[in-house]
């Protein structure tokens, strides 16, 4: 059924470098309209990097990234500006603007992109804060909020424009289980009511299994697996199982190379 749906995110052969080091090694992925796609992986898997490229924050070495039918690796700045109106992003640490109130934070995208009446903008921003259970908090400064509240306020800002694409970086990192469960519920509600396509990057298994329609497992810059929750659970791939069972990865050790690293001696002099 999925294959018949429109792909609103289409990534092809994405290769990226950080300095000399290759981070993503040719990633291809489709995300369908109205789908919640969870991108999972341990630290160093490249999942955060992948998100940054999906957001158009960096130019890849090669490959293409199509969002809503437009290749953002080719798009000019005006085109990108237009496209950004349809994207919302909630960053890991919230990234609220500390010099503005919570309400002003949520209003900023609306003030930047629309010419709506002030009254409309204010009601909209309060509506979004109500959605994330922060009703009445619009006059507070971000510094006065707890960690969970900052995350929810950031989500309110991300959905200020009713975006078609919502990106969510580590929704449950650093939150207590109750608050993180609430956020998961909220993500599901948003998709159902507003028909958003949602990409969530996380390393939290429980949260991933709860909200995902499909899961992409990244490992060391490669996609190990794309599949439904069931398919991921039942995968016989060892790295996937390691990740699910929280097993540390076991690498085969090359004794000579290991000695060379420890003693900082070139391999041929050992």
């Amino acid at each position: 059924m999925n294959s018949e749906r429109e792909a609103v995110i289409r990534v092809r052969d994405l290769v990226t470098h950080y300095g000399e080091r290759q981070i993503l090694k040719g990633v291809s992925l489709d995300v369908h309209a109205g789908e919640i796609m969870v991108i999972m992986g341990g630290s160093g898997s490249g999942k955060s990097t992948f998100l940054r490229f999906l957001l158009g924050l960096h130019q890849p070495t090669s490959g293409s990234i199509e969002l809503l039918g437009q290749d953002i690796t080719q798009l000019d700045s005006q085109g990108m500006y237009e496209l950004r109106k349809k994207m919302g992003v909630s960053f890991q640490g919230g990234a609220l603007f500390n010099s503005m109130t919570v309400g002003e934070n949520v209003q900023l995208p609306l003030r930047e992109h629309t010419e709506l009446d002030d009254a409309t903008i204010e009601i909209m921003s309060r509506l979004k804060l109500e959605l994330v259970n922060l009703g009445g908090f619009d006059r507070l400064m971000p510094a006065q909020l707890s960690g969970g509240m900052v995350k929810r306020a950031a989500l309110a800002r991300a959905i200020a424009m009713d975006p078609r694409l919502l990106f969510f970086d580590e929704p449950s990192a650093g939150l207590d289980p109750v608050v993180s469960a609430e956020l998961d519920e909220l993500i599901l509600k948003l998709r159902d009511a507003l028909n958003m396509t949602i990409v969530v990057v996380t390393h939290e298994l429980d949260s991933a299994f709860k909200i995902a329609d499909r899961i992409t497992v990244l490992d060391q810059g490669d996609i190990l697996l794309v599949g439904t929750v069931e398919e991921v659970r039942n995968s016989d791939n060892r790295r996937v199982q390691d990740l699910l069972n929280r097993r540390p990865r076991e690498e085969v050790i090359d004794p000579d190379a290991y000695m060379a690293r420890l003693t900082d001696t070139p391999l041929n002099e050992l």
């Binding site: 924050l57 005006q78 990108m80 500006y81 950004r84 109106k85 960053f91 990234a95 930047e112 992109h113």
Partner: protein, 264 residues
């Protein structure tokens, strides 16, 4: 071997310096782009932000500028009278004070003060925003960080630094007058008359023109260091210090070149 490594380091340092200057140039070009082209793309530079910066950078700095400039005026008077005594020409000290204040000291003092107060604040503010991903957040909302943060500060500094320089001129001349009148016994009115006789518009403009250049240097160096911040609070502290040292050095070097070409 060591010589080779030294040469290599020198080369690398040079490349970095050239890159850095290139980056400052790019920042300047981008700021000017948003100032002039932004309004036509419905992405103007916010006027409120300019005023807010002007208040922080300018108005709040007025008391300290007045105090420092007054002190510089007094200092110049003391040194001038001491030097002129040798020739028995104490009354000629007025010319020395008038010219060195307007052509040199006012803009330099204001430049260094603003670099220390506001250049560092800008580096710290932008650096904190980088570290907190606020810059990323601006970009994904579609707000260009240079347009939003750098261009308003640049405009504000371009207005405020020359204005503070003129203010400093007045305070320093007054400081010089007060000391001279007490020590040598020239009345304030006579001092003012003498000063008006020797000063030309060119003298004042030399200081003001320098102030424009200093404003650009402070804004760009503060912003560039801020954007370069990495690694948490410590990183922000590092770029803040770096921005102060760099902008004061740049101001002194620019001043030297300026004086060389304009005075000869």
């Amino acid at each position: 071997m060591n010589a080779l490594r030294g040469l290599e380091n020198l080369g690398r340092g040079t490349v970095r310096a050239v890159e850095e200057v290139g980056y400052l140039g790019a920042l300047l070009a981008e700021s000017l782009y948003w100032l002039f082209v932004g309004p036509f793309r419905k992405q103007p530079v916010r006027v409120e932000a300019v005023f807010q910066q002007m208040r922080q950078v300018g108005v709040n700095a007025v008391p300290i500028v007045l105090m420092l400039a007054f002190g510089v005026g007094v200092m110049l008077a003391i040194q001038g009278i001491h030097t002129m005594k040798t020739f028995g020409a104490e009354s000629k000290v007025v010319i020395g004070i008038a010219l060195s204040v307007t052509r040199e000291f006012s803009s330099l003092i204001v430049g260094i003060l603003v670099a220390g107060r506001s250049g560092s604040a800008m580096a710290a503010r932008i650096g904190t925003m980088v570290v907190n991903q606020e810059i990323d957040a601006l970009r994904v909302i579609g707000i260009n960080p240079v347009r939003y943060l750098v261009a308003p500060a640049l405009v504000a500094l371009l207005i405020v630094v020359p204005a503070l320089t003129v203010l400093a001129d007045i305070a320093a001349l007054f400081g010089g007058a007060v000391y001279t009148s007490l020590d040598v016994g020239i009345s304030l009115a006579a001092y003012a008359q003498d000063t008006a006789d020797v000063l030309t518009v060119d003298d004042v403009m030399q200081g003001v023109n320098k102030a424009f250049v200093f404003a650009v240097l402070i804004a760009l160096i503060g912003a560039a260091n801020g954007f370069g911040a990495t690694g948490g609070a410590e990183g922000v502290g590092k770029v803040t210090t770096r921005s102060v040292v760099m902008s004061i050095s740049a101001i002194v070097m620019a001043d030297m070149l300026f004086t060389f070409f304009l005075t000869r």
